[in-house]
Each structure stands twice: as C-alpha cells, then as structure tokens.
C-alpha cells in the first residue's frame, strides 16, 4: 500500500502542515510525496522522516500550485498509489476534491483520525458532531486536519527525487498575484501561543494597538473572530473558526470573543484556553480553562505591562 502526500510549500521551504499530513499518510502505507513547482521544496521534502520517494513536477501553473495544473499530475500518479492525502489548508482543499473527481472517488474531508485503511473520523456540523466514515471507493482521497496529527520530523529522511511529466495541459487559469500578509509573528496554524480578538475591540486601531504588544510579549500569533474580520479590524487570514483556520496551540487567549459555535469549532482543541470577556455569561467561559471577567480595555494593557 502506498500513500501520495501533497506537499505544501512556499516555493522553497516546506510548510508545517505537510509534516502532520505525512504522519497521517504513514498510517495508510509507504509515504510518497508530490511537490509541484519547486525543486528546492522537493529536496526539502526528501529529508522528511518517513518519506520514501518524492515526485517533483514542474511546468506551467505548477509554481503557483494552481489546482487545474496540479490535479491531473496527482491523478496520473494515483494510478500507482492507493491513497492521496493533502493537508486541509486552503491549498489542499482547493486541489484534493479536484483530484478526487478525476479519480471518481468521494473525498473524506478534514480527517481527525485514521481508524483503519478505509475508516476515518471527521468533524461535521462545525465540529458539533464527529462522524466515523468508511470509504467504499477502491482508492482514497483525504484531506487531514493537521492539528490532529503529530508533525513528522523535517530531517532524517533520504528519499529519492524523481522528476515527473507535468503534462502539457493549459487548465484555463493563471496566477495574477498574491497579496501576502506580512508578519514577523509566528504563523497561526503552527504557533504555540495565540492571542485572538473579537468585535469588542471596536476598531482596527484598538485591535492592533492592544493585541499586538501583548502578542509580542508572549511570542504569540494574532487571531480574530469572524465578527472582528467582517468588521475590518483584522485581515481575512486571521480568522479562526469553522470556515477560517483550525488551530490547536498550547495556549489560546480569547479576548472580547463571546464564543459562537463557529468560533469554538476552530479553537476548542487548544491545550489551554484563556478567556477575557466583560460578559460573565459569555459561552466562551464554558470551554475556557481560565477566565477573567472584566473590561478588555483595562485588562489587556495591564496584562501586557505585567508580563
């Protein structure tokens, strides 16, 4: 049995999401990795512990990992693999279903655990229910929730790298640009500590002037509720929740966040949850390990100063 992992990278380095995906894939067989559009990332993927073989594909559209270009390459490689495993990141979620449809397979999305070669658990209804599903397709296509799996070691492997034919097809799409969020802080999905703000901050200025210094003190990433993002206090990629990012840091500090089920879906697997909210009845306190009731405009500056 062999599993083909979609490697997520930024053109040179491997993203952490890939490492957790390798761990999930290892439960399904020998792990092979597909790297689209970067020889440097292919070399890095070859070093991941547990990866036996790397396929490096280069060609039009692949350097930006466009789904139209990557999916046919992956589908072709699937002729000699039993499962395709991608991280449930925006890249993986864009590509994997396209691969699944080309293979006539129903994807298992957002896998939390691999119970056996064909049985998996996954969250439904914003994580309010966990379903155990058995795939009756001959080949499997999965996206995995990366916070649910340990990361494989980035070093220690020595896989061979094989160039694969990228095909000639123009998939009808082209990359125009990426407006990247610049930040010196850790990435949300791999941060050990996250401080997250809600609509209670009242404005973008207050969101940043209060949260950023606290995040700096804690070496934390900054997240936001959907309400804060919708209100324009924080960019879209800060959003934690059912439809945003799923995070599970050591410590998650929710400030001015009431705790809608859609938000809880994105952070309730954090090891320790700390909530600061002026409403002591806020649902966030039902999941918080440590709660502090009070005015964030007083508490946050005081906390920042005392740390």
């Amino acid at each position: 049995m062999s599993a083909l992992v979609l490697v997520e990278h930024d053109g040179s380095t491997i993203k952490d999401a890939t490492l957790a995906t390798v761990t999930a894939a290892a439960k399904l067989g020998e792990v092979h990795a597909l790297v689209a559009g970067s020889d440097a990332a292919a070399q890095a993927a070859a070093k991941i512990a547990g990866v036996a073989k790397v396929y490096s594909a280069n060609g039009a559209g692949l350097e930006h990992q466009l789904a139209e270009a990557v999916a046919p390459v992956a589908a072709k490689l699937m002729e000699s693999h039993d499962s395709f495993v991608a991280p449930a990141t925006t890249t993986g979620k864009n590509i994997a279903p396209r691969v699944a449809a080309l293979l006539d397979v129903m994807q298992v999305s957002d896998v939390l655990s691999v119970e056996s070669a064909d049985t998996f658990t996954r969250p439904i209804y914003a994580g309010n229910a966990i379903a155990t599903v058995k795939s009756n397709d001959a080949k499997k296509v999965l996206t995995v929730r990366t916070t649910a799996f340990e990361k494989a070691a980035a070093d220690g492997g020595s896989a061979s790298v094989e160039q694969v034919d990228a095909g000639a097809g123009d998939g009808g799409s082209s990359f125009v640009g990426l407006e990247a969020s610049e930040s010196e802080r850790p990435e949300l999905t791999s941060a050990k500590v996250i401080v997250s703000g809600g609509r209670a901050f009242g404005s973008s200025e207050q969101f940043h002037s209060l949260l950023d210094p606290l995040a700096d003190k804690l070496g934390a990433a900054v997240g936001a509720s959907r309400a804060a993002v919708d209100a324009g206090y924080a960019p879209n990629d800060y959003q934690v929740g059912q439809t945003g990012k799923i995070v599970a840091p050591q410590v998650y500090v929710a400030i001015g966040i009431s705790g809608a089920i859609q938000h809880l879906a994105g952070m309730k697997d954090s090891k320790t949850i700390i909530a600061i909210n002026k409403d002591e009845e806020a649902p966030i306190f039902q999941v918080a390990d440590i709660g502090l009731v009070g005015d964030l405009f007083k508490i946050v500056p005081e906390l920042t100063e005392k740390l």
């Binding site: 789904a67 795939s135 709660g291």
Partner: protein, 248 residues
Amino acid sequence: MKVLVAVKRVIDYNVKPRVKMDGTGVDLANVKMSMNPFDEIAVEEAIRLKEKGAATEIVAVSIGPAKAQETLRTALAMGADRAILVQTDEEVEPLAVAKILAKIAAEEQPQLVILGKQAIDDDNNATGQMLAALLGWPQGTFASKVELSDSATVTREVDGGLETVKLNLPAVVTTDLRLNEPRYASLPNIMKAKSKPLATKSPGDYGVDVARRLETLKVVEPARRQAGIKVGSVDELVEKLKGMGIAK
C-alpha cells in the same frame, strides 16, 4: 450570459446541532432549516452580476428533498429567474451532486457556476472543485471578489493572504464569507417568486447514481471541555501564565 447557482437546504446557522442518541446522525426533526449561508452569498453574487449587466439569466439548482423547494423559492425571491429541483430523499454526497450539476451545466450552458465553498452541515468543501474537474473548467475557490469581462478575475481568501487568479470562461466559483452581504427578499418579491418557473427532476433524469461512497458508521458528540476556573485579577492570570511557562 447565463449564471447557474447551486443552493443547499441545511440546518439553520443559528441552531445548535444535537447528535441523536442512537449515534446514527444529527437530529433534524423539527429543526429550523435554511439556505446554506455560503449559497446565499452565491445567489447574491449572481444577482449583482445581473444588476451590473454582466449576467442575463440566473438559474438556481438544488438537489434534495421536496422541501428544498422552499430554499429555491428563497433564491427566486432574492432575484434568481428560474429554478430546478433535483428531488431525492437520499443524502447526496458532493461527488454525486457535482455529477448532477455537470449534467445540468451541459444542458444549460452557463458561463459561470457559483456555489458556496462548503455546506455547514457536512462541512466537506468539495462540490465546486469536483464540478470544475468533471467539466474540465477552471475554478476560483473561496472567492472574496469576482470581476467579469471576457474572463473572470477572482480574488481568493487563502491561508497566507489574498490570491488573485484569472480564469477562462466558462468557470466555477465558490464563495467565501466576505464576497458580499446577501439581501433579504422583500415581501413583493417573495410573492412574485411563487409564480417563477420551478422544474422538478430526479437524479435518474440525469443518469446519475447517487449511491453513497462513504458509509457513516456512527456519529458521536465530541469530547466536551470542562469549564475551568475564573481568576479575579490580572495578577492572578499572570501567575497562572508563569505556572504554565508561558510568561517569565
């Protein structure tokens, strides 16, 4: 140009789902159902394209039980021109939905199909991508901005920020939260929607087998977190953080 919009009837966004005692699924008896929120955004986007003169006709499609008619009437009341209900009581998976939509697209020849990026019940986030693959069309998923000319320029919400791609038409677009804010249907429009055409079909009419590929063995509630303690002051909180090794 014609725009096809796919909508799904799901549990209302504000209802907290309850897992059935027998572990077979989520209890939907006597629960408020609504249009999937991402699909509302899809309908709204199609209407805005029509209002701007970029689209000429909007066809709304739903695959689901007889009651999904209500969801389609909502789409019609918002501003869709006509509707197709592919009626089935089976729980149809994204792959089969995509196959049915691909057949409808072949018949209707739209230049654009807009779908929600995911349904808030099964949270699969797959149908749009699968449809694009089956049709061999390009896809603009998780869209926060769509501009149409002789091609579609789609800004996508991705993990690292905002990515813009250009798609040849016809294309598939899936919506993210910030694409637009859907309108409420006005009472006159709700009345008018009752007389707009709604065709009822079956999966068999399109030759699509909707048998499930994924068998649900059981559905359980997630492990519950226990509520913890409350601290009375910032100093106490700082002490706790120090205890965890988070603060020095």
